[in-house]
């Protein structure tokens, strides 16, 4: 009869193990052959130990959340690491008391109930440790309760909306440890096998202590465990076991390759719906609150993702920055877009391979730069001063770079444009391809195979000109704020070259929201759904933040950002190439009037 209390726990535990085993086999089995080999190979290398370390640091200690907010970090650590230690120390305690390495799995869980005789070796130390750990976990539960009412304490502005399954799991999770405290307290009162915490509680219970009350408390404890285990696979807490698998698979080098596979599932189930991505997402400034990464992941998991949600995202990458699980939300979303638009990719049969002029350097301005002719004029001026033999590839007509298509998920269509452009660039025999648009830069760098043609962003190109003293600038006194374009900063990790260039023209002020936390201008080609009004709300949010620093100039390195910000009335916006062209100091030999006139005509002709 007494043994019956282990039933709810055991049923839940076996059910959980079954589901987890089934899912792991399904997910790992669904990976491509190459990915499976990668995974197996990674077990033989150092990566295996890296993964174990990462599981410990992120899965148990929650280092990333600590960095974000210490209270939130402590809450997660006390629950995860505390529970883990309770299990480990509990097992050691059982092994010591039984003097055997094999003990039934349920015994450490209900040890205080079954082990009434408490006089084995080190028993005092063990019960002290277990009480301490229980207190540690309980402090986490208390914080979790507090978080429901005062999330600001935890550095969060918003939390996710919960489903019924999540609520059941959450409630039973909260019940587990208080019930454990009560039942261990009661047992301590009856059998005297507790330590500072449980014995005190046993004393407080006093006359209430009885065998029946004890049995019912332990049964309730067992039930809460069983409920939690049973609810786990269909709730957000599935992230606990999945994250371990994710870390191993990710460290093995598995990536999403423009196609859904079970790696999508592993990532989707790893999302804990903590909501840290919600605070970073700018879309809420435009009143859009159902398309953030956490909801998209949930919708993929529940198979109810709509196009309206899928395409309503700036793809700025800010959500990825703070994701404690490290889910690759951008790749995941683009893969979903590819799947959603697979049926209607264009073939672009009209693209022709015309004759290509020979040149040392190719300049690809890109569609967006053509809407900001100031950038083209400045670049031409710089090319002229550098004496570069440039072929301006898309001056008259050329296909787009393909990135906007990719952002819309039309990967196959984009590859047609890529093939056409590649043939032209290689045909020109150039050694260098200069681009002035980060959107183009990303696709040229990542998806083009250009053999030995070096892809250079105009910031790097200008920096090189400055370092080699081919051009000289007159440093002004302007206060400059540099706006990191999403595709260049978070997208390509280029933060410093544009700043270094700007430092030669004026004073670059450091601000709070820069580099990986930089705002999106709102103009993003990644979002196909929001209206211009909503875009301007996002833009104003960024501008308001910038204006607090009283800049004279807002500099950026992206024609799209420039175009978006230029629509704001109280702001002088310059691309870095324009800032440089304005600050040009023509050296004495170039200052001859003839040269000057030539330059002026050059500029005039272009604009």
């Amino acid at each position: 009869m007494e043994k019956l209390i282990i039933l709810p726990f055991s049923i839940g535990f076996i059910y959980l193990l079954g589901i987890l085993g089934f899912r792991v086999v399904k997910w790992v089995g669904g990976l491509s052959r190459l990915d499976k080999l990668r995974l197996i190979h990674s077990f033989k290398t150092r990566r295996f130990f890296d993964s174990i370390k990462e599981v410990f640091m992120e899965g148990l200690l929650h280092r990333k959340i600590f960095r974000k907010n210490p209270v939130l970090g402590y809450m997660h650590m006390s629950l995860a690491f505390g529970w883990f230690l309770l299990i480990v120390v509990g097992h050691i305690e059982v092994m010591v008391s039984r003097q055997s390495l094999i003990a039934p799995i349920y015994l450490p869980v209900f040890f205080r109930y079954f082990e009434t005789d408490h006089s084995f070796m080190l028993s005092g130390i063990f019960s002290f440790l277990m009480d301490l750990l229980l207190l540690f976990v309980l402090s986490g539960v208390a914080l979790a309760l507090l978080k429901r009412f005062k999330k600001k304490l935890f550095g969060m502005k918003k939390t996710t909306r919960l489903k019924t399954g999540d609520r059941i799991a959450l409630l039973s999770l909260w019940m587990i440890f208080p019930l454990r405290l009560l039942s261990e307290g009661m047992s301590a009162g009856l059998y005297g096998n507790g330590s500072f915490l449980t014995s005190t509680l046993g004393h407080i219970f006093g006359n209430l202590n009885s065998e029946t009350a004890n049995l019912s408390l332990w049964t309730a404890y067992s039930c809460s465990l069983g409920f939690f285990f049973a609810a786990l696979p269909n709730s957000r807490y599935m992230h606990i076991p999945t994250e371990i698998l994710l870390i191993f698979v990710r460290n093995a080098g598995v990536k999403l390759k423009k196609r859904n596979n079970t790696y999508t599932n592993i990532q989707v189930f790893s999302c804990s719906r903590c909501g840290l991505c919600l605070d970073n997402c700018q879309l809420s400034a435009a009143g859009i609150n159902n398309t953030q990464s956490v909801y998209i992941l949930k919708n993929i998991r529940n198979h109810n993702l709509s196009d309206e949600q899928l395409f309503n995202c700036l793809l700025c990458g800010k959500c990825e920055v703070d994701c404690p699980v490290g889910i690759n939300t951008i790749d995941l979303r683009i893969t979903q877009r590819i799947e959603s638009t697979r049926q209607y990719n264009s073939s672009y049969k009209y693209l022709e391979d015309g004759p290509v002029p020979k040149a040392d350097t190719v300049y690809f301005a890109g569609c967006m730069t053509h809407l900001t002719p100031g950038i083209i004029a400045s670049m031409k001026k710089l090319f002229h001063l550098a004496g570069e033999n440039v072929w301006f590839m898309d001056e008259e007509k050329a296909p787009c770079c393909g990135r906007p298509l990719m952002l819309a998920g039309q990967y196959e269509a984009a590859s047609k444009l890529i093939a056409n452009n590649t043939r032209k660039i290689i045909g020109s025999g150039a050694k260098k391809l200069v681009v002035s648009c980060p959107i183009c830069y990303k696709v040229f760098k990542e998806d083009y195979e250009l053999a030995n043609v070096e892809v250079v962003f105009h910031a790097e190109y200008i920096l090189n000109l400055l370092q080699q003293e081919i051009i000289a600038l007159k440093k002004g006194s302007d206060r400059i704020i540099y706006h990191d374009p999403c595709e260049l900063g978070r997208g390509m990790g280029m933060y410093e070259p544009p700043r270094e260039v700007l430092r030669t023209t004026g004073k670059v002020i450091p601000i709070k929201n820069e580099k990986h936390m930089a705002h999106c201008c709102g103009g993003s080609l990644g979002n196909l759904k929001i209206s211009q009004v909503e875009r301007s709300l996002l833009r104003n949010q960024a501008v308001e933040d910038y204006l607090r620093y009283r800049p004279d100039v807002l500099a950026t390195a992206c024609p799209m950002c420039k175009k978006t910000f230029s629509r704001h009335p109280n702001l002088k916006v310059l691309d870095i190439s324009e800032a440089v062209a304005n600050a040009l100091q023509i050296s004495s030999d170039q200052e001859s009037t003839k040269e000057k006139m030539k330059l002026e005509i050059h500029e005039f002709e272009l604009i």
Partner: protein
């Protein structure tokens, strides 16, 4: 012999009894800003694809209103999604989304036709 077929153009009359509004209604449902199009042609003037071919975004809008699904399904393939049209539009119409919706709806209609 010279091709003089342009002298005898095919009928361009729209029969409102057989008007195919499935495409138009779909686009307007998900991108209502298309209502405000004034057919100014700014989109066509800036279009990267229009620079390479005779692709005409303004015509896409006209055909959409006339329900000429057949013609559209060919023509719409030429768009390169660069987004310049959306940036120059004086009525702030999200043209990129209009194109995406047309492509999607045409694919849906094709599927319906093959299964029906």
């Amino acid at each position: 012999m010279n091709d003089l077929s342009f002298l005898k153009p095919a009928s361009r009359q729209i029969d409102f009894d057989n008007f195919d509004d499935r495409l138009l209604l779909y686009v307007l449902k998900y991108e209502p800003s298309f209502f405000t199009c004034i057919s100014c042609g700014g989109c066509t003037a800036t279009c990267s694809a229009g620079n390479l071919t005779n692709f005409n975004v303004r015509k896409i809008g006209l055909w959409l209103r006339r329900g000429e699904t057949e013609k559209l399904s060919e023509e719409i393939q030429k768009c390169m999604f660069c987004g310049k049209c959306t940036l120059v539009c004086p009525r702030d119409i999200n043209i990129r989304n209009v194109i995406l919706l047309i492509k999607k709806r045409i694919a849906m209609l094709k599927n319906e036709n093959t299964t029906a």
